[in-house]
């Protein structure tokens, strides 16, 4: 039992922060990957969602295929494909770094899901509100940026945070190209040493616990944020963006 505890105490810093002298790894890297995927993914998704509702039919088709493609294949396969393209460089001509491949794959994957969430959110904006904004002289882009997006963000928030938690857990599959996040670190810590077999259960329970703690904490925080929106006066919470748009349009 005590050697179990010793092993865990020795490996816990690696599982949390990676190995000294290298770039941050372990849980920190998992969180960073998820944040990068979500942040960049959101920006891409806003564009894709706009294209999905565009007037041009070919643009709509293109955006729909984008979502369909990246939602339809397993992330682990997408990671491998992107890594292959980046590594052999026929398309992107970038250097062979697993980290870069991982981020690109996570952005593509996440943005497809986020685009669907955003599109659904945008459709929940009352038509009257949009028409009103158009009548008082807002351009399409202004109405999108100042009315539709801020209004629908509230509606989307639960789905977006759910997607964030899912992406955080999904970062574990980048182990296939050896980015030193939590899952990869666990494999490195255990190594191929048969003498480490007794530590497998304890190590993977710890890894599971670390993922759980972050995912659960974020989901609780998101729930609290949601409740605050709901508990607050709906009109008041809506009045802030509308008042702003009113003065700026």
């Amino acid at each position: 039992m005590s050697d179990q505890i010793d092993f865990l105490l020795d490996s816990l810093p690696h599982l949390l922060f990676g190995f000294p002298g290298q770039r941050p790894g372990g849980l920190v890297m998992s969180v960073l990957l998820a944040v990068a995927g979500l942040g960049v993914g959101l920006a891409v998704a806003v564009v894709v969602a706009a294209a999905q509702d565009a007037r041009s039919r070919s643009l709509r088709r293109l955006a729909d295929s984008y979502v369909h493609l990246f939602r339809g294949i397993p992330l682990i396969l997408l990671v491998l494909i992107i890594h292959q393209l980046v590594a052999s460089g026929p398309i992107l001509g970038l250097n062979n770094t697993p980290l870069r491949s991982a981020v690109i794959a996570l952005v593509l994957y996440s943005s497809a899901y986020q685009a669907d969430i955003i599109r659904t959110g945008l459709r929940s904006v009352p038509v009257g509100m949009v028409e009103w904004a158009r009548v008082i002289g807002g351009s399409r882009w202004q109405v999108y940026r100042l009315v539709k997006l801020p209004y629908s963000l509230r509606v989307m928030q639960p789905a977006l945070s759910g997607q964030g938690i899912t992406l955080f857990k999904d970062t574990s599959v980048v182990v296939i190209i050896g980015v030193a996040e939590l899952t990869t670190t666990a494999r490195i810590v255990l190594g191929s040493d048969v003498g480490n077999t007794p530590f497998w259960v304890a190590t993977y329970l710890t890894v599971g616990l670390l993922y759980f703690v972050v995912a659960f904490a974020v989901s609780r925080l998101a729930l609290r944020g949601e409740r605050r929106y709901q508990a607050g006066n709906l009109v008041r919470s809506l009045a802030i963006p509308t008042a702003k748009t009113g003065s700026r349009l």
Binding site: H68, P74, I76, L77, I81, V173, W200, Y204
Partner: protein
């Protein structure tokens, strides 16, 4: 450069595809059952049962499927001393029978992958089913009670059909996600489709071709699954006035 699509490679890929479909069908059914079961327990009047089911959902939803699969396949057997481990997980009549029945050399790993996927997807489904039941009009449940329905009758005739019907679009998305997650079983030496793709790449060094084939096949599987489940959804809602927006 060797030929990429030799007859051997094709039959290897087809065997992998068959296993992927088998894993998908098995885990879809088991996780559906687990989801309904745990989701129902979450509605229990008993607080202890309710919170136990809630803990199950939170634990198995918030740990990545890959970690769960690795745990059951590789870590869990190491809890047992070497001889016992050999007997329990690899060298017994059940495993031998599974080997002859499925053609897998190490059927335990496939079982472990199924178990991990079932717990993960089951936990998600439990939450979806509970949310589905939550959307049912209260009067419907009260009416059933007034008509003298017991707990079992209420579950069987009201909560189960109503909850599944309401949650079905979300269940569809989750089941497709589960199909994609079967690719994670490649990590624990299960020769499903993604693993056979990787094996073919190692043999032929033709990564781009095989990765493209893999992407097309998974896209097809997602599309076919979405179509089939859509038909189930329509059937579930047959003869109902209310039409669900897409």
């Amino acid at each position: 450069m060797r030929e990429s699509l030799t007859p051997e490679t094709v039959s290897l890929l087809l065997a992998g595809l068959t296993l992927t479909i088998a894993l998908t069908v098995v885990t879809s059914i088991t996780s559906f059952v687990v989801g309904i079961g745990v989701g129902t327990l979450r509605l229990s009047a008993n607080r202890l049962i309710r919170s136990a089911a809630g803990t199950f959902v939170e634990v198995f939803r918030n740990i990545p499927a890959l970690i769960q699969i690795i745990f059951w396949a590789f870590a869990f057997p190491s809890l047992f001393p070497a001889d016992t481990r050999m007997f329990l997980f690899f060298d017994n009549s059940v495993m031998t029978w599974l080997t002859t029945a499925t053609g897998l050399s190490l059927p335990y790993y496939a079982l472990a992958a199924c178990f991990g996927l079932t717990l993960n997807t089951g936990a998600h489904m439990a939450e979806l089913f509970r949310a589905g039941v939550g959307t049912l009009p209260r009067e419907r449940i009260e009416t059933a009670r007034l008509l003298g329905a017991g707990t079992l009758a209420l579950f069987w005739w009201v909560l189960l059909p109503g909850g599944v019907r309401a949650a079905f679009p979300a269940i569809t998305t989750r089941l497709i996600h589960n199909m994609k997650n079967t690719a994670l079983a490649s990590f624990v030496a299960v020769p499903e489709f993604f693993q056979t793709v990787q094996a073919s790449i190692t043999q032929s060094f033709r990564a781009v071709e095989f990765l493209t084939i893999a992407a097309v096949v998974y896209l097809l599987l997602s599309t076919v699954m979405a179509g089939l489940l859509r038909r189930v959804d329509i059937r579930l809602n047959r003869g109902r006035m209310h039409v669900r927006p897409d």
